[in-house]
Point group: C3
Chain length 176, copies 3
Amino acid sequence: MDIKIGVITASDRASAGIYEDISGVAIQDTMKDYLSSDFEIVYRCIPDEQAEIEKTLIELCDTQGCCLVVTTGGTGPALRDVTPEATENVCEKMMPGFGELMRQESLKFVPTAILSRQTAGIRGKSLIINLPGKPKSIRECLDAVFPAVPYCIDLIEGPFLECNEDVIKPFRPKAK
Amino acid sequence: MDIKIGVITASDRASAGIYEDISGVAIQDTMKDYLSSDFEIVYRCIPDEQAEIEKTLIELCDTQGCCLVVTTGGTGPALRDVTPEATENVCEKMMPGFGELMRQESLKFVPTAILSRQTAGIRGKSLIINLPGKPKSIRECLDAVFPAVPYCIDLIEGPFLECNEDVIKPFRPKAK
Amino acid sequence: MDIKIGVITASDRASAGIYEDISGVAIQDTMKDYLSSDFEIVYRCIPDEQAEIEKTLIELCDTQGCCLVVTTGGTGPALRDVTPEATENVCEKMMPGFGELMRQESLKFVPTAILSRQTAGIRGKSLIINLPGKPKSIRECLDAVFPAVPYCIDLIEGPFLECNEDVIKPFRPKAK
C-alpha cells in the first residue's frame, strides 16, 4: 500500500505569500527524519477559512488517501483560528488524548500552551492531527505523540509505517 | 438503598463466544476487592454496536438502577470502536476528568495510551465510566479514578459506598 | 481601553442569602492581588439555573464588555451543576487546556478533582473561565492558569493587562 502523508498549513499570511511557510516545511522535515518507509507528501497552504480547511482535509483523506494528515496553524483563541472546529466537523471520531498530551508537553516550555486548542480525530482510514503554528512547538508535539501514530494507523487499516528507531520509537502492543 | 453495579463488555468476539470475556471478569473482581458494602453485579456482554451499547447503558441506569456502570472495550480508533460515542449520547453531563486521568495513568506504561478515547458521564443517578479493553489497563485505570467514585455517587444521590480502605481509599471532602 | 472583569457566582444558596458568597469575594481579592492595571469588577450572584447563567454570561461579555469573566460554582456532577453547559452554549470556541490544567493542579491536593467539569471558552472578545466552588481551590486554579490569561486577551483584541509580577508572572511569547 502506498504511503501518503498530508501536510496542511492554515495561515492567512503564509498562503498570501507574505511570509514563508516554515512550519509546513518543519513538518515535512520531521516526517523524513522519523520514517524509514517510502512515502509521498501531499502539501497544501491555505488561508484560515473554516470551509476551505474542511474541504482540504476531506480531499487529502478521501481523494488523496493520506493515512495521516497533519495541520499547522489556526489552533489559538483568535477570531481566525478555526482549525480544531474544521477538524471536528470532518471527523467521525475524536481522539482527545493527542491534544491533552501535546498541551502537557508544551506546558514544560511555556505557560501559554493551554491556549492551544489542538486536537486529533479519525476520518475513514485517515488520522488527522492538529499541531501548533510555531516550528519549535511542532517538533516538541510530534515527538510526544508520534510513538502512538503507526499503531493507530494499523488500527484504522492504513499502511504499515516503519520508523528510524534511533530517532523515534513506535510502539505496537502485542495482540492479547 | 440496594447497591447495583453494572458491567458492560462491548466486544464483537467475546459476545460471539470466540473468546472468554476476561475483561468483564477483571472488573467484577476489582469491585469485590474494593467494596466492603454488599452489592450486586448486573453484567452484559454485547457486540460493538452503538445502538445496542446505548440501549444497554439505558437499561442498566434507568431500569436496573445501577449507581455505577463500568464498560470495557470499544474505546480505540477502529471503525467498530463506538463506546465513547454511545456513552456521550446517553449522558446528560460529561466528566472529562476521568478520561484525562486514566490516559495520563496509562501513559506511564504505554505511549499508545493516547489512542484510548474513554470518557465518563452522568445519566440520572448513575455514573458511567468507560475503561479500556485490556485486563491489565483496567486495574490501572480503576485504581487511578476510583477514590473519587464514592463521593461522586453521593453527589448524584446514589447509595453510600463503603470501601476496603487497605485496598482503595475513597475521598469525601468535608462540607464547606 | 477600560478593563472590566466579570465575576459570576452560581449558587442556589448564596444567591438566596443562605450563606455568604465567600467564593465570589475570593476571586475579586485574587484579581486585586494579580493586576496592577486599573480595572472594574462586574459582579453577579445567581442561582444554578442554566438559562440564567447563560443570560448573565452574555450580558457581562456583550453588554458590559468584560474582557474576562470568571465563574465559580456549578461545575460538579450534581443535578443543579450546569455552569460548564451554560458556558459551552454561549462560547464560539472552547479552550480545553484550561480545564485540563486546573484539574491536574487540583489533583495534587484531592483525588476528587476529576469530578470538576470546569472549562473555558471564548465569546467575542471575552474569555470565560469556570472555577470550582471552594475558595481554596479557586486560588490554586487561578495561580495555575492566569499566567496565560493576559496573552489570551491580547489575542482576542482585548485590553492590555498588567500584573504585579511578584505575585503572578504573565507570559507573552515574542512574535515569530
